[in-house]
């Protein structure tokens, strides 16, 4: 017998939608109650979450993730199928949703704790820890209506995680509070996971899901698209998103990504101009984006008015945050390029794209030592996509490898022994 905290079988959820709801008796009498549109937010979803594991829900906006979460939390009743949960559920669908403005923080802790199904005694026992975790001790006996929005969510999160739930349901908690509090939240989630709490998480941050979860489920328009170990699911999802974006670009004919030239600075004497860039992926196809970790090429197209004997081409990569990341050039002096009149192109080959996922702005330059022929400042946009969910911070994935030599205790030098 498997020990599952949550078992869902053939679950479907139907909503009635439409701008004209028949809320009033008159409308029911006059127009009948039979006409409204049906919308299936979830269709035939089956999965199980083993006790003590962490489960992620991913998918586009409107894919039914939040509806599924609400069904799990008991807010909605399934239209069809069955749902079985074992253990007390604490749901974080919206932090601080249950607060009453006139009551103090402490009184609201009692109210929210009671909503989560705790007795007064249990809440009193957890009170100190909750106040401590929230970090708003000096305001705990003031009405919550005077709280800032940050204090509101801090208190809400503190209650939900401190009450020691058996099953914790979390909807997009990533955007809560300041950096310090976010870290505290994550640390606590890992702590809960370690202690054997079953956790179900919805997040758009694949990195978070990949890092936190054991298994994941990918929902697409209310249907279960993929389920399994978290890496497989996030990889499938990313691949689909990448493919979809590539298709969309292709359809709109937008292969060379060039931002509006008028907006960006264009400098130089103009004997030679860069016309556009192509980002060419490892298959040799021009693409709207490049994938991290893959072989690729950036092709710079130019048009020269006259023959130029000594030209240097340069590319500048800056992150959307404004940081300059890299600036390779084709070489000066001996290694400068001779360019005939007319159009042509020059390629920059990359064996392994080490840029992390994100949007980079590309500057092109065509110079001859001190003289600038053409300079297009951040005129092009390069989007780098991940092949897998990335958990490494930073702008580049630093190439390198790790080795570990076993140290013996006695050979470790202490400060005093150093010369």
């Amino acid at each position: 017998m498997t020990d599952n905290a949550i078992e869902v079988a053939g679950l479907s959820k139907k909503f009635r939608i439409g701008t004209e709801r028949r809320d009033s008796l008159k409308e029911r009498f006059v127009r009948g109650s039979g006409r409204y549109d049906e919308f299936w937010a979830l269709r035939d979803i089956s999965f199980a979450v083993p006790r003590g594991s962490t489960f992620g829900l991913i998918g586009h906006n409107g894919s039914g993730k939040s509806t599924l979460l609400k069904v799990l939390a008991g807010v909605y009743r399934p239209t069809d199928g069955s749902l079985a949960t074992k253990g007390r559920i604490s749901a974080l669908l919206e932090l601080g949703a249950g607060f009453h403005g006139e009551l103090t923080g402490r009184e609201n802790i009692y109210l929210n704790g009671a909503i989560l199904g705790l007795t007064r005694k249990q809440i009193a026992a957890a009170m100190e820890e909750i106040i401590d975790f929230s970090g708003i001790e000096e305001f705990i006996d003031s009405p919550v209506k005077i709280y800032s929005s940050g204090m509101y969510v801090r208190l809400g999160f503190s209650i939900a995680v401190t009450v020691d739930p058996e099953i914790l349901i979390v909807d997009e908690i990533i955007a809560v509070g300041d950096e310090e509090f976010q870290r505290k939240c994550f640390d606590h989630l890992y702590e809960l996971r370690r202690r054997g709490t079953t956790i179900v998480v919805v997040s758009h941050s694949l990195g978070v899901v990949a890092d936190l979860c054991d298994r994941a489920l990918w929902l697409d328009k209310g249907l279960l698209k993929s389920i399994g170990p978290v890496r497989d699911v996030t990889d499938n999802y990313l691949e689909a998103v990448n493919r979809k974006e590539a298709d969309a670009k292709e359809r709109s004919g937008e292969v060379s990504v060039e931002t509006d030239g008028e907006r960006t600075r264009r400098l130089g004497s103009g004997e030679i101009r860069v016309t556009h860039l192509d980002f060419i992926d490892h298959n040799g196809n021009a693409s709207g984006f490049l994938s991290g970790g893959e072989k690729c090429m950036i092709r710079m197209h130019y048009q020269a008015e006259q023959e130029l004997p000594s030209v240097t081409f340069g590319l500048g990569f800056s992150h959307e945050s404004g940081v300059n990341v890299a600036g390779p050039n084709s070489g000066y002096g001996e290694r400068a390029t001779k360019v005939p009149a007319g159009t042509g192109c020059i390629d920059f080959h990359i064996d392994d794209l080490i840029l992390q996922p994100g949007t980079f702005l590309v500057t092109t330059a065509v110079v001859d030592r001190g003289h600038t022929y053409d300079y297009r400042d951040r005129a092009f946009e390069l989007r780098v996509r991940a092949q897998e969910a990335v958990t490494e911070p930073g702008l580049v994935r630093l190439p390198g490898r790790w080795t570990h030599e076993q140290a013996t205790v006695s050979s470790v030098p202490t400060g005093s022994e150093l010369p």
């Binding site: 909503f15 809320d23 009033s24 008796l25 008159k26 029911r28 609400k70 939390a73 008991g74 807010v75 909605y76 009743r77 559920i89 749901a91 669908l93 919206e94 949703a97 249950g98 009453h100 006139e102 009551l103 009184e107 009692y110 109210l111 009671a114 909503i115 989560l116 199904g117 705790l118 007795t119 007064r120």
Partner: protein
């Protein structure tokens, strides 16, 4: 709304009751003193108006002494006030927790029962005041001992009715207005301002006596003012109405009470 379900969530029900009571007098200078001052003021106004302006012959006290119409009226109004406040406050309490019901699961009977308990505590203060006034008139009897039984039945009946109206109001928002009219009608169909013996039309008298509120108001007056234990058929009627209201409320809660999050 099974008994174990209600017991399991008693802490939540109590929290909702506290929330309702606390927010009622928040920000006022004298706070809880209002819950005593308001009924006192009502009693004062009745004494002034009916005692000096209209000369109405009051029903005699149970101890045989000459009655006091203002006190007699106040007794009836206390019982009525509990019922009508329970219904009105429950409807707004459930509507008010709507956004919460969409975020977290908790049984929808909790805010309704919380509201009823909050109103009951307010009414208990008024009942206490009624008893004090009657003590002043030295109108005391052993029938007061039956009061707890009456209270339990009446609270159960009111909670059932409140639950029905509160859930109904989520599905049809017009209900709030219909209830307002209905409560007015019910008020005059209940012998609060008048004695039922004054109605001579047989049909009308039967209509008035079959109204559940009549039974509760008459019983309350019998117990505390008239100092009689009340007629058995009236007790039976009150009990039957209570069983009916609570059963129907339980059925409606199970059938419709779980989908309120989608109807808000």
């Amino acid at each position: 709304m099974t008994a174990p379900g209600v017991l399991q969530y008693r802490s939540l029900v109590w929290n909702f009751a506290q929330r309702d009571m606390k927010s009622r007098f928040t920000g006022t200078a004298i706070g809880w003193a209002w819950s005593l001052l308001l009924p006192l003021a009502t009693l004062g106004i009745y004494t002034l108006v009916v005692g000096h302006l209209f000369k109405i012959t009051p029903a005699a006290f149970g101890d045989g002494s000459k009655g006091n119409f203002a006190v007699w009226l106040f007794v009836g109004l206390t019982a009525w006030g509990f019922f009508s406040n329970s219904v009105n406050i429950s409807m707004s309490a459930l509507l008010g927790t709507g956004t919460l019901l969409q975020k977290i699961y908790f049984p929808s009977f909790a805010p309704v029962l919380g509201a009823v308990i909050g109103v009951a505590i307010q009414s208990a203060i008024e009942v206490g005041l009624v008893l004090v006034v009657l003590l002043v008139f030295t109108n005391v009897g052993f029938t007061w001992l039956l009061l707890p039984v009456w209270i339990v039945i009446f609270v159960a009946f009111s909670a059932g009715a409140a639950m029905l109206f509160a859930i109904g109001n989520i599905y049809f928002r017009d209900l709030a207005h219909i209830i307002a009219v209905f409560l007015q009608l019910l008020f005059y169909a209940t012998p609060i301002l008048y004695q039922d013996s004054l109605i001579h039309d047989r049909v009308l008298h039967n209509v008035i006596m079959s109204n559940p509120l009549t039974e509760f108001v008459v019983l309350f007056r019998d117990l505390v003012y008239g100092l009689t234990p009340g007629r058995v058929n009236i007790w039976a009627g009150a009990l039957a109405w209570t069983v009916f209201a609570v059963s129907l409320a339980t059925f409606v809660f199970h059938r419709y009470g779980r989908d309120l999050a989608e109807q808000m």
